[in-house]
């Protein structure tokens, strides 16, 4: 009996399948050059050029902006009208099947057969991606366990809740131990606990297991939570391609929350020459954060000292950096998909 052969995953270590493919030693896992896709008169993707580093990537865009077309092109399911794309060093036009052996895909829509058991179906999907039958069966059971399903994995999918179905979808994308997975709205329809679990799983996938992840989602908080890098597409064009962490470009304002009456605080800060104002409706934020105009690190000390002197509680303090939402809205047109 052939057992699935295992190599323990170590945090930070490169995924075995990500080791050099055809001379690509290091470098981006996805590389897109002038990628254009037209359907008749409609241009879905327009001259996209970007490289995706080995990371957890967020893919954003309005409905109809071309994200789905892009993912399908990267999976080799649709050929570009012009331009090229390589995934894991393989060309999508000529090596679609080789790519799909190494890549996992979790679709947004319902796609599970109700009449099969989770374990059976995921094992079948494993075989369909090149695993021998026994290995597929073992891995299917293992991966289903890893995503949080216990005895349920041997039951018919028919009775599964949304959360369980999402987990099965994730499991089938991982069963063949891909080097890269595409997740399309992975938390759709799940309740807060489930969403939390799913996001934890996604983080683990990259941070601990070395599997590169591309997450496509409309929920910016999810992207902010798990992704290191973000790619934004609008009307088929690339608008943003940058790391998420470098995003706290100081806008120069601090947001402060204190216990008690803010008037004294505002007055004392003004006495030190620092302007503090209450938020207006335009500042789309919770109502009790005061905005402190800041242009020097000493302002932090002023906040500390004034609250200390006044003896009021300093509840929260943060820099009003640009959020992902600001970045998104600032760059995406009024595309109404």
């Amino acid at each position: 009996m052939v057992h699935a052969q295992y190599a323990p995953a170590r945090a930070g270590e490169l995924h075995p399948a990500l080791t050099p493919v055809e001379g690509h030693e290091t470098g981006p896992i996805i590389s897109v050059t002038n990628l254009t896709k037209r359907f008749g008169r409609h241009t879905a993707l327009s001259n996209l050029t970007f490289d995706v580093p080995r990371a957890c990537i967020g893919l954003l865009g309005a409905n109809g902006a071309g994200k789905t077309t892009l993912v399908r092109a990267l999976l080799g399911l649709t050929n570009p009208t012009s331009g090229e794309a390589t995934v894991l060093g393989l060309n999508t036009r000529t090596n679609g099947i080789e790519i799909r052996k190494r890549v996992g895909y979790m679709p947004e829509s319902d796609c599970l057969p109700p009449g099969a058991t989770a374990a059976d179906f995921v094992a079948h999907m494993g075989e369909m991606s090149g695993l021998p039958a026994q290995a597929a069966r073992q891995r299917a059971a293992d991966v289903l366990y890893q995503v949080g399903l216990r005895e349920e994995r041997y039951r018919l999918i028919k009775g599964f809740s949304t959360g369980m179905k999402q987990r099965v979808k994730l499991a089938q994308s991982l069963v063949h131990d891909p080097a890269l997975v595409f997740l399309d709205e992975p938390t759709a329809g799940m309740d807060p606990q489930g969403r939390d679990d799913m996001l934890d799983l996604i983080q683990r996938m990259y941070r601990m297991l070395g599997i590169a992840v591309v997450v496509s989602s409309h929920i910016l908080e999810d992207i902010e939570r798990v992704c290191d890098h973000v790619v934004i597409i609008d009307e088929g064009r690339l608008v943003i391609d940058q790391p998420l962490t470098g995003m706290g470009t100081p806008q120069g304002d601090l947001l402060v929350r204190i216990d008690g009456n803010p008037d004294d605080f505002i007055a004392q800060m003004a006495a030190r020459g620092i302007t503090v104002r209450r938020p207006s409706d335009d500042d789309l934020q919770t109502s009790d954060e005061l905005i402190v105009a800041s242009n020097a690190p000493e302002v932090y000390d002023a906040v500390r000292d004034v609250t200390a002197e006044l003896g009021v509680g300093l509840r929260s303090l943060r820099m009003k950096g640009r959020s992902l939402e600001d970045l998104y809205l600032g760059n995406v047109g009024g595309g109404n998909g």
Binding site: A62, G194, R318
Partner: protein
């Protein structure tokens, strides 16, 4: 007018003195042996209230009973003084946005909204339809068939149909589903606006967004009412969990030494990113002591945030029990 709630000093979810628009009085719902909702009593006042709860815990059932789609097994539900089920005139005052995916794919958006307007027998149908469609920014697509709409567009047209008769009460089940970030933001703003003059009840799973439009929450766990009111006040009342506060400072360990000496600090640790994580049961005392101790130790404070004051944390505490 207010019914006598069972054992509560006042109607949960309602600050004494305010008139609730929606009242649930000892409502239960069972299916054979399964008790989906168990003796739930609460009131909803004008403004935006979020209905939250794990899947399968009775939240959807509760919402369906409020919308009149399901009957209660026991207990009463009233909306603006009328029973939620049995009196058709209540629907004049109520607008519903279902979660259901498939709606009349062969109608155009405008026809769908107009149909609702006609059913509601409002005067000046065309104007009302224009206005409703404009509010959700669907004027450009109103003459296209709904079958060709994206998910986000379908959501918006459903909202328009629910608003066309200008109801005082609006109930929304997962209204943000399928919308892209720009549409979400617009819908969040719309909900906030509506909350200024109407009673809006929204059911949603995406807590980070719920935080932006609703301060009042009703949480249903395991078929029962788990919490009602402002989620920040609720957090303060959860004393089984210590508050955890994350601090970024110029000299974290130095600050840690100062903090641990103070009685309000239960525990201090340094996390992977060199931030301090402080556990405290006396939040108020801690927040006052923090700037004072930092000043004394000459440590600059860059970032202070309560690790668990978000709605998500509050929610998970309530669900874990």
């Amino acid at each position: 007018m207010m019914p006598t709630p069972n054992g509560y000093q006042h109607l949960p979810g309602v600050i004494p003195g305010r008139e609730p628009t929606i009242i649930l009085d000892r409502v239960s719902k069972w299916y054979g042996d399964i008790v989906a909702v168990s003796d739930v009593t609460f009131g909803v006042t004008p403004g935006v209230t979020a209905l939250l709860g794990p899947n399968g815990a009775g939240k959807t059932t509760t919402l369906k009973m409020i919308t009149g789609l399901l009957s209660t097994s026991t207990g009463r539900i009233s909306i603006l003084g009328k029973p939620a089920r049995g009196d058709p005139s209540v629907y004049r005052e109520v607008g519903l946005v279902h979660e259901a995916e498939h709606i009349y794919p062969y109608l155009t958006g405008r026809e769908f909204v107009r149909m609702n307007a006609i059913l509601q027998r409002i005067p000046h149908v065309e104007q009302a339809v224009d206005r409703a469609i404009e509010i959700v920014e669907m004027t450009y697509a109103q003459d296209r068939r709904i079958g060709g709409y994206s998910k986000g567009m379908r959501q918006r047209i459903k909202v328009a149909a629910a608003l066309v008769h200008d109801p005082d009460v609006i109930l929304m089940d997962e209204p943000l589903n399928g919308m892209d970030p720009a549409q979400r933001l617009h819908m969040i703003n719309l909900i906030r606006d509506l909350g200024r003059t109407k009673t809006v009840m929204v059911s949603s799973h995406i807590l980070a967004e719920v935080e932006r439009f609703a301060e009042n929450i009703i949480v249903i766990v395991n078929g029962k009412l788990a919490a009602a009111g402002d989620y920040r006040a609720i957090r303060d009342r959860i004393d089984t969990h210590d508050h955890a506060i994350r601090i970024r400072a110029s000299e974290p360990r130095f600050l840690a030494m100062a903090l641990i000496g103070h009685p309000s600090t239960k525990a201090v640790r340094v996390d992977r990113e060199d931030r301090l994580v402080v556990e405290t049961q006396d939040v108020r005392g801690f927040y006052i002591a923090l700037p004072q101790l930092a000043r004394k130790a000459n440590v600059r404070l860059f970032d202070i945030s309560a690790a668990d004051e978000s709605l998500a944390s509050v929610f998970s505490y309530l669900v874990e029990g």
